[in-house]
């Protein structure tokens, strides 16, 4: 059963929705720029094409350190997606502290990108990887503070199942003031976790031409792309579970759930299309300054019961 949910929910379903979401993202971006945009199956075709290409390892780079990180990143995304799905479908099945496990696993993709960047022996990749590290350090603090708000509201329970069932009884946390503030903070952190504009500082196509991914080709790049596309499902889904009552599959609630998800993806896409890239020092100041203050205010309000 556990293997089935790991394979089906964690990989197949998440990858399918993630690839579809990345198509929505590219299509909306194209429409914003008055272009036609790619056909529906384009993200899938991209992955298949990359799987069929030659995988090159740069001269002098360690083969293990270069080719292992994509696999580590992808498997952590699969694990966290399976965890979220199982909790969402059956809130009673969770274990104590699965929220903490999810937060841990969600940082591993960024760490995998950093490892790959440093292993590839390319100066631009090293610059990108060090930026990724600074970005990770900056957004983790407000992200964890924002996650504290649902925990407080669920009566200091660190189980995803408890957070979901409290929301099913008393309405979603997004409806309260502290919940809304924490949701905004989590949304900004999600943008940085996904590595999208204005926080695509680590990749910065026009500046350090892909950053940590610069030396990756063939199937290693395909795994990284699949990992990023799957994160485009996993992170909004995580936010939905924490603040918006999850994804319920019965009757009209399914339509609401899909609306919530597509709405989050569209919001991410609009933010990415209407903002310029910020510098890394600006991003760190933004997350440690205003965003952390906002998250702290949300936590205090949640403690007062607002």
């Amino acid at each position: 059963m556990a293997l089935f949910s790991l394979f089906f929910y964690g990989f197949v379903l998440t990858a399918a929705i993630g690839l579809l979401a990345s198509w929505i993202d590219r299509k909306v971006t194209a429409r914003v720029q008055y272009r036609v945009g790619p056909p529906l199956l384009q993200p899938v075709v991209d992955i298949i094409k990359l799987l069929g290409k030659e995988t090159l390892v740069p001269a002098g780079a360690s083969k293990v350190a270069f080719l292992l990180p994509p696999v580590v990143g992808l498997s952590s995304v699969i694990a966290v997606s399976a965890l979220l799905w199982v909790n969402n479908l059956n809130p009673a099945e969770g274990f104590l502290g699965d929220l903490i496990v999810a937060v841990y696993l969600l940082t591993i993709p960024a760490i995998a990108i950093m490892m790959g960047g440093f292993a590839s022996r390319n100066p631009l990749a090293s610059v990108g990887a060090s930026r990724e590290m600074k970005l990770l350090l900056s957004y983790e603090l407000p992200f964890v503070l924002a996650i504290l708000v649902p925990v407080i509201k669920a009566g200091f329970d660190i189980r995803l199942g408890a957070i979901l069932s409290v929301q099913a009884d008393r309405g979603v946390f997004l409806g309260s003031l502290s919940g809304f503030l924490a949701w905004v903070v989590a949304l900004l952190c999600m943008q940085a976790k996904l590595g999208l504009v204005p926080f695509d500082i680590a990749e910065a196509e026009t500046e350090i031409i892909g950053g940590p991914l610069i030396e990756y080709s063939g199937s290693a790049l395909a795994v990284y792309r699949l990992m990023k596309n799957m994160l485009l499902f996993t992170l909004p889904f995580f936010l939905m579970i924490l603040f918006m009552g999850g994804l319920r599959l019965d009757g009209i609630h399914l339509a609401y759930g899909l609306l919530k998800y597509v709405g989050l993806v569209a919001l991410v896409t609009v933010i990415r299309n209407t903002n310029p890239r910020v510098r890394i020092d600006q991003a760190v100041r933004f997350f440690w300054g205003r965003v952390t203050v906002l998250a702290a205010v949300a936590v205090l309000l949640a403690l007062r019961g607002w």
């Binding site: 790619p38 991209d46 892909g210």
Partner: protein, 145 residues
């Protein structure tokens, strides 16, 4: 046609390489990405890194300084890859044909799959050239069977 080749032709990521052109062809290449022409319709993306590329768009007259880099980059593309020569200079060296600095045309240095003439070629011509390339490759694969 194998699924590998089919996927390659449906999502050719292009890498844009100037070997000493006057920048006019390069501007026309960038024009293909603008809303008016939008080559992302065909799944083409402009790759920043040579390791992500499937198609090498070469402009310019391949002068002595850039030939070294050109060979190096051609070796760094993950195979299979295709090469497109864009503009008069990369086809036959154009007005630099008698120059001391451009001893041989591009197709004597690396294998070229399709030639797009013009000084500079229009974006329409570039897109038509790439379509011809795709048709030729798929015909070749069909003939092989």
């Amino acid at each position: 046609m194998s699924i590998k080749l089919k996927a390659l032709l449906k999502s050719p990521w292009v890498f844009h390489l100037s070997t000493g052109s006057c920048n006019n062809c390069d501007i026309e290449v960038l024009d293909c990405l603008t809303p008016r022409f939008d080559i992302e319709r065909f799944g083409m993306l402009l790759a920043g890194s040579i390791r992500h590329a499937d198609v090498l768009l070469v402009t310019g007259s391949a002068n002595r300084k850039s030939v070294v880099r050109l060979k190096q980059l051609y070796e760094q593309v993950p195979k299979p890859c295709l090469v497109v020569a864009i503009g008069e200079c990369s086809l036959s060296r154009g007005m630099f044909i008698h120059s001391y600095n451009c001893p041989v045309p591009l197709d004597k240095i690396i294998p070229v799959d399709v030639y797009i003439p013009g000084c500079p070629p229009k974006p329409e011509a570039i897109i038509a050239g790439v379509v011809k390339l795709i048709n030729r490759v798929s015909e070749k694969a069909a003939a092989k069977k």
